[in-house]
Amino acid sequence: MKARKSARRALLAAIACLLCFGMAAPKESVSAEQLLVRVAFDQDTALDGAIAQLADIAKPAPLTFVAERRTGLLIRTSRNGYERLLADPDLRTVRLVRGNVPARQQETPHEFVTYEIRLNASETGAEAVAASELAATPYTASVVGRRTGAAVAPPAREAGPGMLLVRALDTAGEELYRTVVPDPRLVRYEAVDEDGRFTGRTDFYRTEATVRADIPADPAIAALRITAPSKGAAAGVAEVNLQ
């Protein structure tokens, strides 16, 4: 009777695993990115329900059932999933069994310098160019100022529309650091009608603007390369040598 119950549970677990994650029954090994975690609920919960609940808590991180133990369920998940499980107040135990959780990146101990980089395309004779003319407008760059003291580690910004990617390079052209800053050239105009509905947009790019980028005060940094990231490609804007 007991053996049949156990076999039924194992079968249920395998089905739940396949249904939830479309994966074969896992082994008790973890890759570098995955963690083996033991989880226990406050109350007895049916296995299939428990797995579904854990998968829901960890979502969108992957979670794979490994085994049922007397002390809880063994599951595999990513660091992201592990942190989601840890943060769930309804789980009695969330214990890391195998795998490493490296410390989150601490605030960098670097001193930062705010570089003021002047972008210039004033040879065009225009105060600004339309977005459609931007690709054909070459900008030059020069460092016009350095501010220290007030600079702090910049927030982690995502590259995207209206942003510039500033890469700090060494003398061999290897990237040492990168930061994303708002594109100071961009001026966006959006028209509205009397009902408040937006009716049109026009983007302009100033032909003279100053990029301000917080870069570590690292003497190995020899140049800054500024690009406008878009859809995986990075359109070159300008490069400036610091040495």
Partner: protein, 391 residues
């Protein structure tokens, strides 16, 4: 609370004299205007909810306000801030915001027009790049004043508020808005772009001109599993959703400047119509951006991640939440994975340590219903301590 940052006593007196003189007979030159901007800036804290290193700081600069109009600037800036923080999800998260205004008196009121120059501090003018309603400011002057007076972590959203009742404004690195009611609403839309990383949901004659959306609130995908906001779409929703009225969150055709081929999540939103609510998908994105900018925890005690306990002693560990009143925040303390507390503080005794050392984990999560999709886990913060038995 008033904080004054002055370049020096002498320069301050000189700037004061220039400002006072402007009211009588001084004819300002651009150079003198710039000097006034750089040297006579007064920073006023409008809203302080916590340390700037863990807050979203809104900076409002006033342009076209004379020295005697600073009370009006204060009122206009408060009005803008109130308006913005009354919109969701800003309202729910208002204690994640600080606000500052920088007072820099201009010699003349208002903004310049093509045929009517005005001597104001930031050079705000209508008709930029030959568009009548395009109100822009001199970005170098704006940046100079902001950087001279604030720390870098005090600058998250910048608005130049122009003392002019004509409708106009612009977006970009910082927003510019006149005091016209519509302008302040457009400024919130602009923050949707620059801070929220949201795309336009309206249609105009620019279809095809833009091909690089952030993609949180616009898509070309038609099949539900590929729609970025699929978790918000009810099971029985028609896809694409008929664009003849509000049918809830779905897939409405007409977005990102195109009438066809691009879709938006709601019938209307702030990214489509001025003054409209953000809607669930845009609100979710705003909240994720709040948490990409700040963390749920202001600080923890003890600061060191290694704590030694002698026999018979115990140690109190404490979390300091950025917003203690936010009801959707949950806190869990775990010792070697075992939950020991759901409160904001926890106590560990020598006898609690298994073997030679234990790991204490603090997890804070905002379980807000405003966010259903948090792929990066930005709504969770985890801190660890190693608690070691002292021999």
């Amino acid at each position: 609370m008033e904080i004054r940052y002055l370049a020096g006593c002498l320069r301050n007196m000189l700037a004061g004299a220039l400002v006072a003189g402007a009211a009588t007979a001084l004819v300002a030159t651009p150079a003198a205007t710039q000097a006034a901007a750089g040297e006579s800036a007064t920073v006023e804290q409008m809203l302080k909810t916590g340390p700037s290193r863990n807050r979203i700081d809104v900076v409002i600069l006033g342009d076209g306000y004379r020295a005697r109009e600073m009370d009006k600037f204060e009122e206009d800036a408060e009005e803008f801030l109130d308006y913005m923080l009354m919109q969701q999800p800003f309202k729910t998260y208002r204690r994640y915001f600080n606000a500052l205004r920088i007072e820099t008196p201009s010699r003349q009121s208002g903004a310049s027009r093509p045929d009517e120059p005005v001597d104001n501090v930031y050079g705000s003018r209508f008709g930029c790049f030959d568009i009548r309603r395009l109100l822009c400011a001199d970005d170098d002057r704006v940046e100079e004043v902001v950087l001279d007076n604030l720390k870098r972590n005090q600058i998250d959203m910048v608005l130049v508020l122009v003392n002019d009742e004509e409708y106009g404004g612009s977006g970009g690195d910082y927003a510019v808005a006149s005091t016209h009611e519509l302008s302040r609403e457009v400024a919130v839309h602009e923050f949707g772009h620059s801070f929220g990383h949201l795309d336009d949901e309206y249609i105009d004659d620019n279809c095809g001109r833009y091909d690089d959306p952030w993609g949180f609130n616009v898509t070309q995908k038609r099949k539900k599993p590929q729609i970025p906001w699929k978790v918000w779409i009810p099971k029985k929703q028609t896809l694409p959703t008929p664009d003849d009225g509000d049918h809830g969150t779905g897939l409405y055709e007409g977005a990102y400047h195109c009438a066809e081929g691009w879709f938006r999540p709601t019938y209307d939103s702030i990214m489509r119509t001025n003054g409209a609510p953000a809607g669930p998908v845009n609100s979710e994105q705003f909240v994720r951006r709040f948490y990409e900018t700040i963390r749920p925890l202001d600080s923890v005690k003890p600061k060191s991640d290694k704590v030694r306990l002698a026999r018979g002693t115990s140690k109190r560990f404490k979390s300091d939440l950025a917003d203690k009143r936010l009801k959707t925040i949950s806190t869990v303390w775990r010792l070697d994975g075992k939950r020991i507390s759901k409160r904001q503080a926890s106590q560990v005794r020598f006898g609690d340590i298994s073997g030679r050392r234990s790991t204490l984990t603090l997890s804070v999560r905002d379980g807000t219903p405003l966010v259903r999709n948090d792929p990066k886990g930005v709504l969770i913060e985890t801190r660890n301590w190693r608690v070691i038995k002292r021999k």
